[in-house]
């Protein structure tokens, strides 16, 4: 048997997993052809200088299966997802676009329910859809409905959020429990029995981020917030790995501090899944100067979506570019980014 040819002849689901195969695809194909100083930064949203103003611009597509799940639907996910991409650059989202690709045969009632969810999410976030597009494809050429949203936001003067600013000694903050979304999707798709108390955490995070920035601005310490990232596909461990790599710092986290809802933990134990690798749709990681960490946590906890916010670790230089997990039982290990496809089509 020969060593297999590494140039994948086809796209496999791995390439869309958000893990290392996705990064390889982006770096070896997309950036190769589309190279651009802003794109090359590979941030969740591009930050552009337009006539002295900093604008954030982002796009995201949603193909979740099932389209309705406990705690939300593809509609809410599409609005909150793009808002969160903007928020993670410290931007205040201004408006969104909405593109629908609908499979022939989708029930009108289902579409109406999705649009109602979109309207509800927009109202709650106070960010409107201002332009849109609809395409219908023949039965079997899509799976019920795919949604693309793009968004524009404004980054206020003085805000400078980038993994490059992460420093040794910084605190690692998390806005609440992990793995709720991924486990909810998996269990509702597989019809597993313990879905009763499970619920997706999909929500918009920009108000909490604006709250933190406003508070830091008041005390003239806006530069204390170094990086923000929402741990979606690949979960907390993959997102921290990305931050560790792009900052060449070591992220050390304490497993016992990481909130995990009891039914989520039970589901993970039963299915042999590591909750640190399971997707979230309403959480963020903040990296900030340690002396400001407690006051940032206080602000986060004042928002309902951040009431379980907690400091989960610190930035060190022990293993540059890596994530160290101090386990609940007193051991320690490194955590690599996700590979493979434990939970396809979760967003």
């Amino acid at each position: 048997m020969k060593i297999p040819d590494k140039t994948h002849k086809q796209i496999t689901l791995d390439h869309g997993s958000g893990g290392s195969a996705s990064s390889e695809l982006i770096e070896s194909l997309f950036l190769e052809y589309l190279t651009d100083p802003v794109l090359n930064r590979m941030e969740d949203a591009a930050v552009l200088n337009v006539r002295g103003k900093k604008l954030a611009f982002s796009t995201d597509s949603f193909v979740v299966d099932p389209i309705f799940f406990p705690g939300g639907s593809i509609g809410e996910l599409a609005i909150n997802g793009t808002i969160n991409d903007l928020a993670m650059q410290g931007a205040r989202p201004v408006c969104l676009s909405l593109g629908l690709i609908i499979e022939e045969g989708l029930g009108f009632k289902d579409l109406e329910r999705i649009i109602r969810d979109i309207a509800h999410a927009c109202r709650k976030a106070e960010v409107p859809v201002v332009t849109g597009d609809t395409k219908v494809v023949p039965r079997g050429k899509a799976d019920r409905i795919f949604i693309n949203t793009s968004g524009i936001g404004i980054v206020e003067e003085g805000t400078d959020i980038s993994p490059a600013r992460i420093r040794k000694g910084d605190a690692i903050l998390l806005s609440g429990s992990v793995a709720d979304h991924g486990i909810t999707i998996l269990t509702s798709r597989e019809g597993l029995e313990f879905q009763g108390k499970l619920q997706s955490d999909t929500c918009a995070l920009h108000k909490m981020v604006q709250g933190i920035l406003g508070n830091l601005l008041q005390s003239d310490s806006i530069s204390a917030l170094h990086a923000l990232r929402d741990p979606t596909r690949g979960g907390l461990a993959t997102t921290l790995s990305e931050l560790a790599r792009s900052s060449s710092a070591c992220m050390e986290i304490f497993e016992k501090e990481i909130p995990i809802a009891a039914p989520v933990r039970a589901a993970c134990e039963l299915m042999g899944l590591d909750p640190l690798y399971i997707a979230n749709e309403g959480k963020f990681i903040a990296i900030a100067e340690e002396q400001y960490a407690e006051s940032i946590i206080d602000v986060m906890r004042s928002f309902p979506e951040g009431q379980n916010s907690i400091i989960i670790g610190k930035v060190t230089d022990n293993y540059p570019g890596r994530v160290v997990v101090h386990t609940g039982s007193g051991g320690s290990r490194l955590a690599e980014p996700l590979t493979g496809e434990p939970l396809p089509r979760i967003c």
Binding site: M1, K2, I3, P4, K6, K9, Q10, I11, T12, L13, D14, G19, S20, A21, E24, E190, A262, R265, A266, E269, M271, G272, D274, Y319, R322, V324, V325, H326, T327, G328, S329, G330, G331, S332, R333, L334, A335, E336, T339, G340, E341, P342
Partner: protein
Amino acid sequence: MKYIDEYRNPDLVRSLSAEIQRKITRPVRIMEVCGTHTMAIFRHGLRRILPEKLYLVSGPGCPVCVTPPGLIDAFCKVAGRRDVITATFGDMIRVPGSSGSLADARAKGADIRIVYSPADAIQIARDNPEKLVVFIAIGFETTIPLIAASILQAYREDINNFCIFPANKVMPPALETLMKDTSLNLDGLLCPGHVSIITGSEAFSFLAEDYGLSCAIAGFEPADILLAILALMEQINEGSYRVDNCYTRAVTAAGNLKARELVQEVFTPVDSRWRGLGTIAGSGLVPKGKYADFDVTRRLAIQVSEIDEPPGCLCGEILKGMKRPSECPLFGKNCTPSAPIGPCMVSNEGTCAAWYRFGVESI
């Protein structure tokens, strides 16, 4: 969470590891046979709190890893048929054979579905009467009773479009083959907890009696594993050989008789090829008698060819605990979890994947 948190208690874990530290007087080699143990040891970061003199070796206990490449080629060939829906556990999907993996076959159009139980494959068969649903039957004693039960169900309900691709393996003959290899130099064996629930602890007593090996059956939480290592240290220090059951909340001496009856009803032992270990007599199972038609290799007259492992790939030696992943020239360079060459890098429970994911070399 009950039955979990107690066994992860850091104080308990610390005192057990201190006790192991006190008991160890010379370098000791212990093999953990089960892939779930390998994963648990890494996931809980136990290597960091164990003495340096204790050398933990991973054995052939990951069902995906021991599946030879020729068999994977045969899975892909069956999966590629237009009249077939393939149902498989998720771990199997990315393991490369000589001409791609099931994931590659799926990208080319094969209808391959990931299931969590063979019972899901039965449901797929009910829903798709015009297709033949083939369940890729991998796994050890823990999975085999479920597969037997699904064949019995299909037989009772007359579901003719369901069959399995038999690739299950049983553990005791493989352990016996390993023990005959004196170059392994093992002092003790952590016996697989889940397999023991089915087989009973008695199934491993031949290792102590015939091969003079200290054995302990371990559960999967940190305290379970450390307790079993401590039991092994005591046996090693005394120079005694027996099977200590350190997982009494789940394992009995006789095991699960009902499950074993199901297996005996449906299956008959056959010789089976293991990656790294070669062909081992009586280590595989195929459906027998009136259930024989549930065997897709019989129904579709499929030949499985023997294919050599990729050059440079040390999965075979790694499965026997003879080599460490870092000694493989492909490890971390040509062979990574995103582009695996050997199966030990693919499976969640594979030794190489665990070393890579948890950065064993550097911490």
